[in-house]
Amino acid sequence: MTKLKSIRAFAVLAVAGGVAFGGAAQADENAELIVNGEIKLVTKTAAPDHLKDAVDTIYSGWLFRETGTQAMQMDDFVNPGMLDAEAGIELYNAVDGTEGKSCASCHGDIAEGMKGLRAVYPKWNEAAGEVRTMEMQVNDCRETRMGAEPYKYISREMGQIVSAVSLQSRGEPVNVAIDGPVAATWAQGKELYYTRTGILDLSCASCHEENYGNMIRADHLSQGQINGFPVYRLNNAKINQVHDRFKGCVRDTRAETYNPGSSEFIALELYVASRGNGLSVEGVSLRN
């Protein structure tokens, strides 16, 4: 109760600060993300070993948002992304395709069958001999096991099913593998992360490693972590998948983007996910 009051007080301050000169929107670095008053998520932790020469500490994008936006993710009844996750659970249970199967036909109850998966994706698929994102795995199941049409990589249905699956890992630490068979893809992703693109000549690192915490116009630059994806953005009022966000960022460097589902974005997703190893999966997060 006291906590709620202090959140409100902060929200008022944050709004007032937003119109002031400079970066008054800096949220409390020690704010705690507790969903529904019970699920405590790690939003700040030591950087994984592979990242230690770049940054000491990794932060969820949640910490960079204004207090009012932060509060929306702390209550599932207020987070609009939860409606998409619910729709995704219905899709998971719905029979589709020539084989008369649903996801549940093979994987069982989503809470059991999908538990922990978001935390380890993208991951190596031995049979296919490739790194797969969750979206790729969903479509492979649909095509080869269900005899159903694949979803478009970036689409309402895909966003919903990925939201539903991610929610089953909420609170678990991101833990993608970066060595063994994925090492080459990870290295490609790292290279892309540090490669400048576009007429504005910016890399991911230009903003999200060199300048996180700084304001860029009215935006508070985060570390660009993807542990919260899929994310419901107030900005476009829908679920946003990782590759869609990557595309938007690359576009904003005034560049010719890569396509969602491309080998470049798969590699970049693996690398960026690994920069967040140790942060909690936030299931369906909420950002501006």
Partner: protein, 156 residues
Amino acid sequence: MKITTITAAVLFTAGAALAGEVGPKDVVYAEGAIEASLSGAPGDAAAGAKTMTTRSLGNCIACHEVTALKDSPFHGEVGPSLDGTGSRWTEAELRGIVVNAKMTFEGTVMPAFYKVDGFNRAGDGYTGKAAPENFPPVLTAQQVEDVVAFLVTLKD
């Protein structure tokens, strides 16, 4: 043959429109600085202030705080404050920094505002598509001059 003639005519027309102007590929630097006006004309400080605060133009305040431009909201923190910049740098140095800051500050994140080559995956504005051939620089020669004219007024 006919096509060649037309091409020549187009080039000539473009060239004529830009008489007295230094094209982005012809800029000459001296230690990062550029001595002469790119447009051949003096800059207009008031127009420069507009270019600096307009998102679709220079949008300089996205990254820099400028007290004199406080009427426009949301100044960024990515680059240093530009207050007093006219006391710290000469006009030629400021022109060089606006045109291509990497010639002065190696590895800076600051974009080059008057440059049309050497990019990786240049895009067509903010469409995400590939840039057309002969795409223009972010700012015109005169817009650069206007910005420089404003920056030199920022004295300590």
